[in-house]
């Protein structure tokens, strides 16, 4: 690891931190301007105005806007994300279980998407121009242009209702806790099959299209042809040259996509009843649970920045020439 490399990484971490600071400041400002009041749910026939004011004031901190901002920032930087108005629990305690579910679900689906799309792209390129290639391109186009919730509803209707093969929603059976560990895992996998399939179908065409084009370009490039004429084995050409050169641009896209899906996919979570980040963010906004809104947005920001950073780092490790461009 060179000195230049370390300096650039430190610089990138520092700028990421500044971006996060900017994000939470922006959220703070937006929430100050946002309509709604968390105390609305306390309105009742008997609640006197004095008591109502008392309840209202309990949701805000005293002081000027600047004082509030710096108080908020200080708490944030010291790791105190506050207490959720709705759950009466520390914000992180509310977020972490949801993040875990989203992380497991999205992570596994993401890996499936990447592997499958690479395999399909490879098959497609190997059969370029043939019927299988043309069919795959068309199918990818259909999947790409179908909204994921439509795909989800169709899959649920066919596989969960008509054929009755999979559960309609949820991530585990009611009695999951009574099962042995391997059965618990299988049970979760069984419940996750349809959501994972829907999610895979939704993003697969993007990676497939990128990879197919990259593979096509790389495989037909002069240096690959030259390597073949030199008698280099096909597996060596593939692992050493084709794969690194064709996958690199896809990693950049995947990095951003992964960050986005880590902050939850509301539609998918609602359709399949997955208790993940997407639903939490929306419910916190709808119920004016400000600390939770800030916490969720912060986590979403961290996820996007982190995954983008890891993606860039991976690209640099694959191709050192990218160090200057990407890490700046």
């Amino acid at each position: 690891m060179t000195k230049e490399f370390i300096v650039k990484i430190v610089r990138r971490i520092f700028t990421s931190f500044l971006i996060l600071l900017f994000i939470i400041s922006l959220i703070f400002t937006i929430l100050q301007l946002a309509p709604g009041d968390p105390s609305y749910k306390y309105l009742s026939p008997e609640l006197s105005p004095e008591l109502m004011n008392k309840v209202k004031n309990s949701f805000t901190t005293e002081g000027s806007l600047t004082e509030k901002y710096f108080g908020f920032l200080f708490s944030f930087l010291t790791g105190d994300l506050g207490i959720s108005f709705n759950f009466h629990q520390p914000v992180l305690d509310v977020i972490l279980p949801k993040l875990k579910i989203t992380f497991i679900f999205s992570g596994i689906t993401f890996i499936i998407q990447l592997l499958l799309s690479f395999w399909l792209a490879y098959v497609s390129v190997q059969n370029a121009g043939k019927i299988i290639d043309r069919a795959m391109k068309k199918v990818a186009m259909v999947f790409y242009s179908t909204p994921s919730f439509i795909t989800g509803i169709i899959l649920i209707y066919i596989f969960a209702y008509m054929i009755d093969l999979f559960p309609v929603s949820g991530i585990e059976s009611i009695d999951n806790q009574n099962y042995s560990l391997p059965l618990q895992i299988l049970d979760v996998a069984y419940h996750m099959f349809l959501p994972a399939l829907t999610f895979t179908i939704a993003l697969l065409p993007i990676y497939y299209s990128y990879l197919r084009e990259n593979l096509k370009t790389v495989i037909n490039s002069p240096y690959i042809v030259y390597l073949r004429t030199l008698g280099t084995s096909e597996s060596r050409i593939f692992w050493k040259h084709t794969l690194p050169n064709s996958i690199n641009p896809v990693i950049a896209v995947a990095g951003i996509e992964f960050g986005s899906i880590m902050s939850g996919s509301l539609v998918m979570e609602v359709v399949f009843g997955i208790p993940g980040m997407g639903r939490l963010i929306i419910s916190s906004i709808a119920t004016n649970d400000y600390p939770l809104v800030v916490g969720c947005c912060f986590i979403a920001g961290v996820m996007i920045i982190l995954s983008s950073f890891i993606a860039d780092l991976s690209r640099v490790l694959i191709d050192r020439r990218l160090l200057k461009g990407i890490m700046n």
Binding site: E46, H88, G273
Partner: protein, 552 residues
């Protein structure tokens, strides 16, 4: 060859697993699954603000009384539950409570009268911010509304208590109607700790059911409390509240048998569900109505100066009556609600038979009569542009609606056309819910379309009493001395007949004055699997007292 073998094995394992999983859930159905849209935030009845939280806390925590809906008389009847007996003194200023001695908390501690005293005090404590804050005006309280335990409670023994109410207060059983929480758990915490206590999520309970497990945003599993006096051998073993956020998904699960009980079915789906042999469909009528609210004062003048002058459009009773006559409310009932609704005449529905005035009839849909009434008020289309005017002011206003409810969007479009027919231009403006509510509570709007759920027992004070400061939900800025006087009388000691007559009078006045255009009562359509027996769908809540349910 090896690969093909692996594929076969994998497929076989998968198929076996799928088949066993599919049959496993349905084979051992000693439970009832209730489909719900969203999860609860707490199990502590102190903070049960949502309807589902209230329903679940009723199953987990006992109250001194239980209420039953008398369909014939259309009123609520109260009976002792935790209490073995309840006895009012002669002038109704105090009540003697004898508690049952066979009630235990789930940690095996015996439930005593100290729990009752502690609970009532906790509900009234403004620092705890419970759902009962401010509701203890019949008790002797301090300035902040907190119960003065010393002057309110005479503790006789571990199971006996006398509660002394405030002098002249018209106390009733509803003043005792709070689920009791364990003193030995919450009494050791200070007020700020109660709000975030772990016992709100892992409760120590004394009800017909106890909490078995809670998978947040997935399911809540309640198990039968074998020690509870409410349960019998036939009481169902488990009730599972399954969180399924998507409506279509919930419906599919009901049809598939994964969900046994579901509320809020859309009218267009009800007929389809009725065709299933294993599903019963029923409805709960008369709890929720939609209305168009008219601001009776000028919102701009009120906002700028605090003065209340009559609204230039809706300040007149005749104009409001004319608009109600112009709206084809029946069309919404017929075409959107598919007859799962009823025209509204006022804020009290026909299910409350004892307080409902059957002589009142809904204002009929009559465009000509509407035009006539407007003309009498001086609203005429002078310049022939299709919009009526008075003193140079054209009758144009914004009708505000919160987004997200198709029924109201559908109705607003119909009403917009209806109003055009009488020369009124209502510009429908859809708003995000929080922005909508902000403006509504600040009395910024001339007109808005929203709904209301009528509480049981009926309470009209919150919407119709003139003191805006103390009735923040009087959104129409309605002021009527006669109504105030009637509402004040309801706070006094009255016979049941007198009380009923007052409600009838109130309904009559509000029907006549039309501070709202009361549109229609909307039924809550409930569907349940026929394997559930002994189920009584009633206005108190569909899962009310579900320990009486049995399974076929």
């Amino acid at each position: 060859m090896i690969m093909r073998c692996y594929y076969k094995r994998f497929t076989a394992v998968l198929i076996i697993f799928i088949l066993t999983s599919c049959s496993g859930d349905k084979a051992q159905r000693d439970y009832v699954t209730v489909g719900v849209q969203s999860d609860v935030e707490t199990f502590n009845p102190l903070f049960a603000f949502q309807s589902l939280e209230g329903s679940i806390s009723e199953l987990l925590f006992l109250s001194l009384l239980r209420h039953e809906w008398n369909e014939k008389l259309g009123k609520l009847e109260s009976y002792p539950m935790m209490a073995e007996s309840l006895k009012w003194n002669e002038d109704g200023s105090s009540i003697f409570i004898k508690l049952r001695e066979d009630i235990y908390w789930s940690d095996s501690v015996k439930c005593t009268i100290d729990d009752v005293m502690f609970s009532l005090a906790a509900y009234s404590d403004p620092d705890i911010k419970s759902r009962g804050v401010g509701a203890f005006h019949n008790y002797v309280t301090d300035e902040s509304g907190r119960i003065d335990a010393q002057n309110s409670f005479d503790r006789i023994s571990d199971y006996e208590l006398v509660i002394n109410f405030k002098k002249g207060a018209a106390a009733s059983y509803f003043d005792l109607d709070y689920p009791v929480i364990p003193k030995h758990i919450f009494g050791t915490l200070n007020t700020s700790q109660i709000l975030s206590s772990e016992y709100n999520f892992e409760p120590v309970t004394n009800g017909a059911f106890k909490l078995l497990s809670w998978q947040k945003d997935q399911s809540i599993i309640l198990g039968k409390n074998e020690k509870s006096f409410l349960n019998s051998d036939s009481t169902i073993n488990r009730i599972i509240f399954k969180v399924v956020p998507d409506y279509n998904n919930r419906l599919l699960q009901l049809k598939k048998g994964e969900i046994d009980f579901l509320e809020d079915i859309k009218p267009e789906d009800a007929a389809g569900i009725e065709e299933f042999d294993n599903i019963n469909v029923e409805k709960v009528s008369g709890r929720q109505y939609d209305y168009i609210g008219w601001n009776l004062i000028d919102p701009e003048v009120y906002r700028n100066t605090g003065k209340m002058i009559p609204n230039k459009f809706f300040g007149s009773k005749k104009v409001r009556q004319a608009i109600t006559h112009a709206l084809n409310r029946r069309e919404v009932i017929d075409n959107f609600l598919l007859n799962y609704g009823e025209l509204a005449v006022g804020p009290i529905s026909s299910i409350f038979k004892s307080v409902y005035d059957t002589t009142l009839k809904p204002l009929e849909y009559n465009i000509e009569l509407a035009k006539q009434l407007l003309k009498e008020e001086g609203w005429i289309d002078v310049n022939g542009d299709g919009i009526i005017e008075k003193n140079g002011l054209e009758f144009r206003f914004d009708l505000k609606i919160a987004t997200g409810l198709p029924r109201r969007e559908y109705a607003a479009n119909i009403f917009n056309n209806n109003l055009k027919q009488i020369g009124i231009d209502a510009n429908i403006e859809f708003m995000e819910l929080n922005s909508f509510l902000d403006g509504l509570f600040m009395r910024k709007y001339n007109a808005w379309l929203i709904g209301w759920v009528i509480p049981i027992p009926v309470d009209l004070r919150i919407q119709w009493y003139s003191d805006f400061e103390r009735t923040p939900l009087n959104l129409s800025s309605y002021r009527n001395r006669e109504v105030d006087s009637l509402l004040d009388r309801l706070e006094m000691k009255l016979t049941e007949q007198e009380r009923n007559q007052i409600f009838k009078n109130l309904n009559y006045i509000l029907h006549d004055e039309q501070p709202f255009t009361f549109l229609y009562w909307v039924d809550n359509i409930v569907a349940y699997n026929t394997r559930i027996n002994n189920i009584y769908i009633n206005p108190l809540g569909s899962i009310h007292y579900c320990w009486e349910w049995t399974l076929k």
